[in-house]
């Protein structure tokens, strides 16, 4: 049956029809120089062998299926966390479309961001005019309170000087002289999206604290009792930020959440489109200099920001995406130590509930092997939680992980008997992971949506935790931090484990003697 207007088939069904199948088979036969299916099968099997793995790991130049994105994505993510701020990416508009779609597809929300739309002549003559026109148009069309500038590779390769360009633009009247235009150089050929987050956040803080690019006096720190919290690049920012704020309020800690994008990535449907929503106010961003301390939930997202803040006289604490009991203990005790505030009974009870849930179910997780990939901090947080549960994070891989990160993961492995046979893979990609899963199989894989190919090819069940998650909706609304967040992660892991048990026991009259309703 071909497509027909009375009963329109979607792509799941349509191309399974005989005429399409016939057409595809013919095309393959006549135009695609088909290989002997046996040979194809032989290669497929060979790609699962240790021999292939060795060749795979000998790759020097080629990256296959990377588990990282580029700096400006992180810069945009950080920028939208400030009040009425429009991220402005100086460079080609195509890149910007990627950031917007990436964020939209994950958060199921519009993602506003503009570019200076550099073209070939801009590449030759420099992008100054694009900056001048771009800032002027952005300012007049979208009426932001702040424009946070970052760059794509194109601008970086030709060496555009953002500081000078912005100054010139202001002189030419693109935006008022006192209008806030912080900036950060964020070339994709250095680091990853977590680096871009770091650079952009540091650029914004630098702008407010260190004299707005020479146009205002530097702020003088007058210490108060507030605490700043930085979430870092985090696919769970909606749920996590709210959870962190709840914890801070429970403890009675005055705080500023820097780059708080939890509202803009979760605006209500009530008849009004909000291009901007929530976010750290510009005043708070400036006043954050006076805080007693800054806690970063993700050390590797704030490698430059934290030292910058420390240099202004604050205590800084860098955590690694804490998940689970010990990780959350560390976070909460740090808050308590810094502020002298007692940890309220409510949090003790939440802790007890998480421990209780772990005790109820740990037998199912205990001794299971996991492969994890994702951003460096996420990997550390999840691996820590798994070790706490008696699972083995056998393969831990971060394409954007550094050698120092790998050492930290190794130290984590060394701290537990369950880490003895685990390995860390910095700078590797998902094709490496594929070989790992074939040659050293594990029970479960934890990663983002892209892991579904690994799940399909290697048969390793995928637990979706990370960024981006495109093919499952709304998980970003749940926290993974705090004791309640730990509970969510525990449940996601358990759900998959039980789904697998069911899947393995559901063949009628064959395996279903164990298809039980009580697990």
């Amino acid at each position: 049956m071909t497509q027909n207007a009375d009963h329109v088939l979607d792509h799941f069904e349509l191309f399974r029809g005989p005429e399409y199948q016939q057409m595809l088979a013919n095309k393959k036969k006549m135009f695609e120089n088909p290989r002997d299916p046996a040979e194809v099968e032989r290669i497929r099997e060979w790609a699962k062998t240790p021999e292939y793995r060795e060749k795979n790991f000998a790759r020097e130049a080629l990256t296959v299926n990377p588990a990282k994105a580029c700096q400006p994505l992180g810069a945009v993510f950080a920028a939208v966390g400030f009040e009425a701020t429009l991220p402005f990416v100086h460079g080609s508009q195509g890149c910007v479309a990627y950031y917007r779609s990436h964020l939209s597809r994950h958060f199921k929300e519009p993602s506003s961001c503009v570019s200076s739309s550099m073209t070939e002549d801009a590449a030759v003559f420099g992008g100054l005019n694009n900056m001048i026109d771009g800032l002027a148009n952005t300012y007049s069309m979208y009426k932001p309170k702040m424009i946070a500038v970052s760059t794509t590779c194109m601008a970086e390769v030709i060496g555009d000087d953002l500081n000078a360009f912005i100054k010139t633009s202001k002189e030419k009247g693109s935006v008022p002289a006192e209008f806030d235009v912080p900036f950060a150089h964020t070339p994709a050929f250095v680091g990853s999206h977590v680096t871009g987050y770091d650079n952009a956040l540091k650029g914004i803080l630098e702008h407010f604290w260190d004299g707005k690019a020479g146009t205002a006096p530097k702020l003088e720190r007058q210490p108060n009792d507030k605490v700043n919290v930085i979430g870092g690049f985090d696919g769970y920012t909606v749920g996590n930020t709210r959870e962190i704020r709840r914890i801070l309020n429970l403890m009675g800690i005055e705080h500023t959440i820097l780059a708080d994008n939890s509202e803009v990535f979760d605006t209500p449907t009530d008849g009004e489109f909000r291009m901007y929503d929530g976010g750290t106010t510009l005043e708070d961003a400036a006043n954050a200099i006076h805080a007693k301390a800054t806690v970063s939930m993700q050390q590797y997202c704030t490698e430059k920001t934290l030292p910058f803040i420390a240099a202004h006289g604050q205590e800084v604490v860098g955590l690694n995406h804490p998940v689970g009991v010990s990780g959350t203990d560390e976070f909460i005790m740090a808050l308590s130590r810094i502020t002298g505030k007692e940890i309220p009974e409510e949090l003790s009870r939440e802790r007890g509930r998480l421990v209780d849930a772990m005790a109820d179910s740990s037998a199912h997780i205990h001794g299971k092997k996991f492969a994890i990939y994702g951003d460096p901090d996420l990997c550390l947080g999840l691996a820590g939680f798994l070790l706490e549960l008696g699972a083995e994070p056998t393969h831990v891989l971060a394409t954007n992980g550094t050698k120092q990160w790998a050492e930290k993961v190794q130290a984590l492995f060394d701290s537990s008997p369950f880490g003895q046979n685990c390995h860390v893979y910095p700078g590797k990609d998902l094709w490496h992971m594929r070989s790992l899963l074939f040659t050293e199989p594990v029970d479960f894989l934890i990663g983002n949506t892209y892991g579904k190919y690994l799940e399909r090819d290697t048969g390793t069940p995928l637990i979706r935790i990370g960024f981006p998650i495109f093919d499952r909706h709304h998980h970003h609304r749940y926290p993974v931090w705090g004791y309640q967040g730990g509970m969510n992660v525990l449940v996601w892991i358990l759900d998959k484990i039980f789904d697998e048990i069911d899947k393995n026991t559901n063949v009628p009259a064959k395996t279903d003697y164990s298809f039980d309703i009580i697990r």
Partner: protein, 561 residues
């Protein structure tokens, strides 16, 4: 067809039950049902007991006649395993409504049976009576009889409505239903001298299948298992077995005993929990079969299998010894025979600091003393507070128990391993014991317990509720220690008989005043054990202990060492 009350009376008279045999006429009449204490947190009802006893019969439709409560809350809730049909897992109920309550539910029941037979055509339909239809007077026996005649298919009434008593009574009533309507109604295609019945075994987690290969190897045929992985026809011709093994001691004793009476099938009570028990059971099976005409050489083959399996199991347990060194276990076993498991765990290098003897017989207790020494903590009824104290004093690294104690253990921060019915691992037979040791090892070394046992790092551990409870206990103990009079008072105030609320002092006084030497004597004078009779064991202990304390404690202790 006997009435329900007559059947119940008959069950109470069960001479095969050791406890029953020791009772007076009046007590027997009262029955072994401990009247449930209003306001108490009770266990399952007789309906539940009947249902779980028969539900593992895999190829019959189990139809519950009653409102949605009975089946709606319980269908497919047992981890029995079937090697064939899965119809036992389908939840069939008449789900009666208000109109049925007013006008009677018999027609609906009849129709439901008809629909089951039309749609599923199982070899038999079991119909379970529940409280409401029993109260409104639905006669399920009559309906089943009519349906059976009409459809030419066995429709078996299981008359065990919830209100008649507790779960255990339901188990027995289920057995009565089989005896009355099923057993002996069909003939096997052939018989062998090696045909065995296993009674009271439910194949939970597929445990029976861990033992079956050994029986297969010996050429012993399980003619019928009642009811684990059982089929209707197998039960129907089970009367042709040569011998029977009675598992799970008291649940279906009436079935085993009456089959001996009616069909001359000798039985023994045995268990496949623990290595030694498994071997004893295999030996006993061989002995009974030989007695009934199987060739003598069966025993030699059985011994060979036992020797091989024991060696294999001990060898598999050996590597755990270093890991278990210094690890202490508290064992609350419920239905599992304590001492048998005790022996295996000790062999694995674990130190047992206590074990429950709630369901153990006197011989079991003796055996435990033998194994664990005179100082063994034999726990009758342990309060959560005592349990916690025991753990807190580092007397146990882990508790092995049934699901009932799970939450107490976990909330009190105690590592715990499930060894009763609802577990997902099978611990039966030689491999089962190895599996148990493996699971204990996993549980002992699970890092999660660290989190469980430690309070939140910011918590002042001197101030939390556990600490307060302990302090209170210590304070009470100290107060008693300082005041011998109060201590004596507290000792004497210990409840021995819960039904009749008789304390230790009253019993001791009665013994002293009347020079009593038997539990019956104590009962006459104090009314203790006049209720459920469960405290008879405790009274025996008191009687046994008294002269010793009167004479001199020291020589006795030395003798024990």
């Amino acid at each position: 067809m006997s009435s329900l009350s007559a059947t119940i009376q008959d069950v109470f008279n069960e001479p095969g039950c050791g406890k029953n045999a020791n009772k007076s006429e009046a007590e027997r009449k009262k029955g072994c049902t401990k009247q449930l204490q209003p306001g108490g947190a009770a266990g399952g009802c007789a309906f539940d007991g009947a249902k779980i006893a028969l539900q593992p019969l895999t190829d019959v439709a189990h139809l519950v006649h009653g409102p949605i409560a009975c089946e709606g809350n319980s269908w497919d809730n047992r981890g029995a395993r079937s090697s064939g049909s899965n119809i036992w897992r389908t939840g069939f109920t008449t789900d009666i409504n208000e109109t049925d309550v007013v006008f009677g539910g018999e027609k609906r029941l009849y129709k439901a049976v008809k629909e089951i037979i039309e749609k599923y055509n199982p070899p038999a339909v079991f119909v379970y009576q529940t409280c409401v239809p029993a109260m409104i007077g639905d006669d399920i026996n009559a309906v089943c009889k009519a349906a059976s005649q009409k459809f030419g298919k066995p429709v078996i009434p299981v008359n065990s409505p919830g209100f008649v008593g507790p779960k255990n009574l339901g188990n027995k009533l289920a057995g009565e239903a089989l005896l009355e309507h099923v057993i002996g109604t069909e003939e096997p295609d052939f018989t062998t001298p090696y045909d065995l019945n296993i009674i009271g075994e439910y194949n939970l987690s597929g445990e029976l299948w861990q033992v079956k290969p050994l029986l297969d190897e010996l050429g012993i045929r399980i003619l019928s298992c009642i009811s684990g992985d059982g089929k209707y026809r197998e039960v129907a011709y089970s009367h042709r077995a040569k011998a029977a093994m009675m598992v799970c001691s008291k649940a279906m004793i009436n079935v085993a005993r009456k089959m001996e009476e009616r069909y001359g099938i000798p039985f023994f009570e045995g268990s496949f929990y623990g290595i030694e028990d498994s071997s004893d059971s295999l030996r006993e099976i061989a002995r009974l079969l030989i007695e009934r005409g199987a060739p003598d050489e069966l025993m030699a083959r059985t011994e060979a299998v036992i020797a091989r399996e024991e060696a294999k199991a001990w060898a598999a347990i050996e590597p755990y010894k270093p890991r278990f060194k210094g690890k202490k276990v508290l064992l609350i076993t419920g239905g599992v025979k304590s001492w048998s498991v005790v022996a295996a765990l000790q062999e694995a290098g674990l130190e047992l600091v206590g074990t429950s003897v709630k369901k153990s017989t006197k011989e079991d207790k003796e055996r435990i003393k033998e194994l664990m020494g005179q100082d063994a903590h034999m726990i009758d009824d342990m309060t959560p507070r005592e349990m916690y104290k025991m753990m807190k004093d580092a007397k146990a690294d882990i508790m092995l128990s049934g699901g009932k104690s799970q939450f107490v253990a976990l909330k009190a921060g105690m590592p715990w391993l499930d060894i009763n019915q609802e577990r997902s691992h099978a611990y039966m037979g030689y491999v089962g014991m190895v599996k148990l040791v493996q699971e204990i090892d996993k549980a002992l070394y699970n890092p999660m317990w660290q989190q469980l046992r430690q309070p939140a790092p910011w918590e002042n551990s001197a101030r939390n509720w556990q600490a307060r409870a302990m302090a209170q206990m210590d304070a009470e103990a100290a107060a008693l220690a300082a005041d011998p009079q109060a201590a004596e008072q507290a000792r004497r105030a210990k409840k021995i008989c819960h039904c009749k609320t008789v304390d230790l002092g009253t019993i001791e006084d009665a013994i002293a005043a009347h020079a009593l030497t038997t539990t019956d004597g104590v009962k006459q004078h104090t009314n203790a054990s006049g209720g459920c009779g469960a405290c008879a064991g405790r009274i025996e202990d008191i009687l046994a202990a008294l002269p010793a304390t009167v004479a001199s404690a020291i020589p006795v202790l030395q003798a024990a060492e």
